[in-house]
């Protein structure tokens, strides 16, 4: 089963990277989200799949009565999900900002590479009029 999941992860990775390489920023974000999912599955696979109950301790005992799923990767993934969510939000905002400033989301377009008039293009010339 783990090997099948590994194959799934590999294919998801390919798709995610293909999108991220396309040079268009919306696709980049989609690829990023896809890769987040792939990585979560990767961590999950590393903790092994088992068709057993969740890592909860029953109402009576002090330790799980029956074998339960590996809790450690789950804790890691939970953190990873929320962090990749925050990063996705940030990327989306960057996208929004980029478009507002450059009017394009294609990284290969010339005016995207050079800085647009509204940008801080003059930031490295020293200011004379300010004290």
């Amino acid at each position: 089963m783990e090997h099948l999941l590994a194959l799934t992860v590999g294919i998801l990775f390919s798709g995610a990277l293909f999108l991220m390489l396309s040079g268009e920023l919306v696709r980049f974000v989609f690829g990023f989200v896809l890769m987040g999912n792939a990585v979560n599955l990767l961590i999950f696979a590393a903790g092994r799949l088992s068709f057993v109950g969740p890592p909860l301790i029953g109402k009576t005992g002090t330790v799980p009565a029956t074998p339960v799923a590996n809790a450690l990767p789950q804790a890691l993934i939970l953190t990873a999900i929320v962090i990749s969510f925050a990063m996705t939000l940030f990327l989306l905002i960057l996208l929004y900002r980029t478009y507002a400033q450059t009017r394009t989301l294609n990284t290969r377009q010339a005016d995207f590479l050079s800085e647009s008039p509204g940008d801080d293009s003059d930031s490295d010339t020293p200011e004379k009029d300010h004290s």
Partner: protein, 763 residues
């Protein structure tokens, strides 16, 4: 720099704050004075706090005779420089910054001399490097100040790296990081195979800091600092740090032929070159800077010796130099401040206009020239005695000392006579004396030069001997006297004074000759530095242009390509080791979910419209959540579903404001090499990930951590949900870091959204 109109007497109100800050050095000086009598008796004060014990890094401070001597010089000079600067810098717009830097620098310097741990000393060493950058470049609106500050930073910073390397070599050879312990294993260190490397690293560090040839060039250029800073840096602090390091290392590494020959030769070269160059310029400050080089060379030369006499000579001259150099720098600053120039050709006859400054300069220069009854005379006598007692090259050392001293005598005469004697030029008619704050420092230090010259026994007993004992094991008593009787050193002293007078008579001709010489050198260190720096910067610019070309696709391609090639080349030979993939036995529902996720992903990759892609992403997220649920992870399944929902909301909120996607393959284009290349890259990366994960899951699983969490989750942490207990209890520090990331991302995002367009960020 003429900021305030030259008026007499009162201190302007605006500089009171600077004046009050002299309480800091004064207080430290008083503290050291409290410890002084006990240090003279041979007591050593130590304090120690563990800082990073695993790295041998302790906040270990130690006060012995040598530290005390340096501490007294640093705080005393700091005190007078602060008082002086309160008037000198008055009205400067960045007055406050100046005093903060000055005192921070002083404290860093005290850190060097009190540190008993080599790593702690290095930290303070680097602090002085950085603060000296800020101080030399204080007038940062002038381009040469910036240039010179950078030069000082690069040269001394590079030397600092050598010092660190030496410290780490010493540590890797298994020696202690504590200086006072280190000297006990001197024999082992000196016979260690790494000794030459360690010595060279330490030596380069000390040479760059103390301006030894061939790293001397930054020091005269550091004159672009405001004059009080030059006085502080040159007389007492920055450049003496290297000398201090050599003194501290003397009992550890000194005495070998390598140590002796290197120090004597380097020091001799520096002393001679500095003394010759001091005759060249007309700028008073540059003259003083070159005499500092000479003094540092002489100090290094004497530290190359092994006898108590030679080390006593070094320590005595250190004090002599600190006293006269600080006084002279401050006095030159006063001349500059009152007349607006420091050029010898424009100055003359100021003795009538600035009598007290003239007196202070007279005291300092006579001490510098080594006239009897002045402290410098004592210093010179012991120097000759020490040079003649050197183990290696005694005649070379004596010769260098003699010629350097003769040149110094001439320079002292130039500094005293040219500005103050002779007729007063017309443009200086209105010059008047400085306020008291600018007179007290030079006057007091000039006066000490005389007092110490008259009572050398007291000085040697209370200052010099405790210092020498701290870094020389033989407690051989060397007493300084006013008059040692008629002997060889006295004869040499007389030769020095007469030849100095001869050189002074010929000063104009000599100046021309030296200028001709320095202008016609084929290779100069500043030239080498400049061309090296230029080449380095152009290379860096080229590399940056190639690597940072602004194309996201290029960056990504490089990253993915590197991943595939590097990881793949290591991993591929082991792929065959993966145990044969077992027959699939798992639940068919899971397989169905995998297929579903892949199908949804295919929709995302091939989507021509955003809505399709968003839908596909939702499918992938939901499918992944179900996979989690099937394999016993309801917690993450729940979180994943909720995150999917929120992501969907935000994606639609933002994508509504963006243009539609462009197709991957442009309509009409049948074949695009770029798309093909991207596909090959991503597929090979995916294959790599697949084989890697397969490899990982083929190895046995270590469940010991999980077992720990399972047994302790309820017993110790009172929670039945093991995942949640890990998050909020066992690994809560990780979670704390995570929510910090989230809050930071949100904060940055909010400001990106809110920041107005086309405007610079508010300063």
């Amino acid at each position: 720099m003429r900021i305030t109109p030259p008026d007499t007497g009162a201190v302007p109100d605006c500089c009171r704050k600077g004046l009050y800050s002299c309480l800091l050095p004064a207080g430290l000086f008083a503290l050291l004075c409290l410890a002084w009598p006990r240090v003279v008796n041979g007591d050593v004060f130590t304090v120690q706090w563990a800082w990073v014990p695993s790295l041998d890094l302790n906040l270990a401070l130690r006060l012995d005779g040598l530290s005390l001597l340096f501490g007294l010089i640093i705080t005393m000079t700091g005190f007078f420089v602060t008082i002086y600067a309160s008037s000198y810098m008055a009205g400067h717009p960045q007055n406050g910054r100046f005093f903060v830097f000055l005192h921070a620098f002083m404290i860093a310097m005290l850190g060097i001399v009190f540190a008993d741990n080599l790593l702690l000393m290095f930290i303070c060493w680097e602090a002085t490097t950085m603060l000296s950058f800020l101080l030399i470049g204080f007038d940062h609106e002038k381009s040469d100040a910036r240039e010179n500050a950078r030069q000082a930073l690069l040269v001394t910073g590079a030397g600092g790296l050598f010092l660190l390397m030496g410290i780490l070599l010493l540590k890797s050879a298994g020696f202690s990081m504590t200086l006072s312990v280190l000297s006990e294993s001197a024999d082992v260190i000196q016979n260690h195979a790494l000794y030459p490397a360690i010595f060279i690293c330490f030596m380069v560090g000390a040479m760059t800091k103390s301006g030894q040839v061939p790293f001397h060039f930054w020091l005269p250029n550091a004159m672009s600092a405001p004059t009080p800073i030059s006085a502080f840096l040159h007389a007492a602090t920055m450049v003496k740090a290297g000398i201090y390091l050599l003194m501290r290392l003397h009992p550890v590494m000194g005495g070998t032929p390598l140590w002796m020959s290197t120090l004597v030769l380097v020091g001799g070269a520096t002393a001679l070159w500095g003394a010759i160059q001091a005759l060249g310029p007309c700028d008073l400050k540059r003259i003083l800077a070159h005499t500092t080089l000479m003094a540092l060379g002489i100090l290094t030369l004497f530290l190359g010796g092994q006898t108590v006499l030679s080390l006593t000579a070094a320590t005595t001259f250190l004090m002599v130099h600190a006293l006269y150099k600080a006084a002279l720098f401050l006095a030159v600053g006063s001349i500059d401040h009152q007349t607006g120039t420091r050029d010898l050709n424009d100055l003359g006859g100021l003795a009538t206009r600035m009598p007290l400054t003239a007196l202070a300069v007279a005291g300092a220069t006579l001490s510098m020239a080594g006239f009897p009854l002045f402290f410098g005379f004592i210093g010179k006598e012991i120097m000759y005695a020490g040079a003649l007692a050197e183990d290696m090259f005694p005649l070379f050392a004596a010769g260098i000392t003699l010629s350097a001293n003769a040149l110094m005598t001439a320079v002292a005469a130039i500094i005293l006579l040219t500005p103050f004697a002779g007729t007063l030029p017309a443009h200086l008619k209105n010059t008047c004396e400085t306020p008291w704050t600018m007179r007290i420092g030079p006057a007091f230090m000039g006066l000490i030069g005389v007092v110490f010259g008259i009572m050398p026994e007291w000085v040697s007993e209370n200052l010099i001997q405790p210092a020498v004992f701290a870094f020389h094991p033989d407690r051989e008593e060397i007493r300084l006297f006013l008059f040692h009787g008629i002997n060889l050193p006295l004869v040499l002293s007389i030769i020095t004074l007469t030849s100095g007078a001869v050189i002074y008579r010929q000063k104009i001709r000599l100046r021309r000759g030296i200028r001709f010489l320095t202008d016609h050198l084929w290779v100069t260190m500043p030239g080498l530095y400049q061309s090296g720096l230029t080449r380095f910067l152009t290379t860096a610019a080229t590399v940056t242009r190639i690597l940072q070309n602004g194309s996201l696709t290029t960056y990504m391609s490089v990253i993915v390509f590197t991943l595939v090639v590097l990881t793949g080349s290591v991993w591929l030979p082991h792929v065959a080791d993966i145990a044969s993939i077992p027959a699939v036995t798992g639940p068919y529902i899971a397989m169905g979910l995998f297929v579903f996720v892949l199908g949804a992903a295919a929709v995302v990759v091939t989507a021509r419209h955003r809505l399709a892609a968003i839908g596909g992403l939702g499918g992938v997220g939901g499918g992944v959540a179900l996979i989690f649920l099937v394999f016993g992870a309801p917690d993450i399944a729940l979180t994943q579903l909720l995150v999917e929902t929120l992501t969907l909301i935000f994606v639609s909120l933002i994508l509504l404001r963006l243009p539609p996607m462009e197709p991957i393959v442009k309509p009409g284009a049948t074949f695009q090499a770029r798309t093909l290349r991207n596909a090959i890259l991503s597929i090979s990366a995916g294959l790599l990930v697949f084989t890697l994960v397969s490899g990982v899951v083929s190895t046995p699983l270590d469940r010991s951590l999980t077992a720990f969490f399972e047994t302790h989750s309820y017993v110790s942490a009172h929670g039945r949900n093991i995942v949640n207990v890990i998050l909020v209890d066992f690994r809560s520090l990780d979670t704390l870091g995570e929510i910090c990331v989230i809050v930071l991302a949100a904060w940055a995002g909010v400001h990106l959204i809110r920041r107005p367009f086309g405007q610079r960020k508010a300063p």
